[in-house]
Symmetry: C2
Subunit: 284 residues, 2 copies
Amino acid sequence: MEIIEKIEDMRNKSRALREANETIGFVPTMGYLHEGHLSLIRMAKNECSKVVMSIFVNPIQFGPGEDFERYPRDFERDCRISEKEGVDYIFHPSSQEMYGEDYLTFVEVEKLSGIMCGAARPGHFKGVCTVVLKLFNIVNPHVAYFGEKDYQQLVIIKKMVKDLNLPLLVKSGPTVREKDGLAMSSRNKYLSREERKNATVIYTCLNLVQELIYKGERDLSKIKKEVLDRLKENESVSKIDYFDFRDPESLDEIEMIGKHGRILAATAVWIGSTRLIDNKIIEF
Amino acid sequence: MEIIEKIEDMRNKSRALREANETIGFVPTMGYLHEGHLSLIRMAKNECSKVVMSIFVNPIQFGPGEDFERYPRDFERDCRISEKEGVDYIFHPSSQEMYGEDYLTFVEVEKLSGIMCGAARPGHFKGVCTVVLKLFNIVNPHVAYFGEKDYQQLVIIKKMVKDLNLPLLVKSGPTVREKDGLAMSSRNKYLSREERKNATVIYTCLNLVQELIYKGERDLSKIKKEVLDRLKENESVSKIDYFDFRDPESLDEIEMIGKHGRILAATAVWIGSTRLIDNKIIEF
């Protein structure tokens, strides 16, 4: 496994791989790897002849007062794990390398970036789209892999790729969960023991939505009320950014559902001082 | 010469050219070709083995009330001229092909897009950057050619290419002028006979700046006053959007100059109901 820190080196490597007729699978991450990341690496290994993973905690997707500084990092552990998984190249640039002194260019997917997590974190998806576009231009992959836990991010990146005519395929892997259902996230590390136990309420609520729909409830406002009550009675829940029902493709908000269909239930909940997100697509 | 209307066809053609080890020179235009465009085509012919020219009047770079609808178009004439110049492919997509029904993704180079023409035409450079990025992704050229008449556009596109790590080279060609000095522009067609005659005042003023600097004037506010007086006394000048002195690299505004240096004088002036731009780099 080779670690690459310079944009020019990564670009040259990618060009050489393409000239050698390799297919490049790319897994962009912020490091502190967990099983969610590894599942994407395994997809990439399966489908492509070379796997590039990036590890870059992207400053411009964090707002003022957010957790950029304390975001968990362990590059050596990440390298050991990646090597074992068969990653071929880790692209690990510095912020200076990515943004230099006078960075000015930003990409935004309008509308989709202003709802859900975008409403709670202004500028977040602009930062995500910008870094992902840069990484795509540098790594020039055939396929890029994203986790479905960040569902809104996945929809936005697919839209960006389509709108900007980027020559690559975006694929996604399902959310990987702990045994008790909590979605894996690097941020779970922030949770105290008590909070970690209580954090399962998020997945419980997503399953509650499914259960109520399966039981025949079609009025989502009733389901939402029940879910919010459940969340609020949990001792560790300090704030609910949103709990939304949306179209899984367009992310349009849905108020009433018919007999059969497909709906995204998505939420961002603060457990103590930690903001966690999760979602579930429910087919009925 | 081949005319290509579909994104997918252009992309496939470009891929085939690259696989055949051709170098692709790209000249993006809005058509209604004049000698300025032809000079860029000739540069591309000289330096690359294949030349792609795009003709696309980009709706999203025109503001409400601007001249998108009446912008001059003559596709057949453009084709005849391009063929004679040795253009290999004309990429000529429809607006529907480029933006479809629910287009949402935009690129912006901050700061640089808000000054000069960007102050007078809000959203203009966001539209330019977005279409140019899309065209770059579709055509995937080795070198792209832009005219220096649109100097701010050139600086912004170079900055976008650098910031987003786009794998291509941007080159520029000097402004081509009519015999009396008026910068060639598709919009010159809008001018009445009287206006056409009076429009030479723009280039006269740029030369006046140079003359005053060469004579030793170092206070740009004095030069600006003299230039604005000259413009205002011209019967066809109906409005002056700006007449700026700026650093040719950063576009930072300059108020005083030293003994030696390099300065961009740039202006946007309305001749009757036609908005014309021009600029000159003065070395002293």
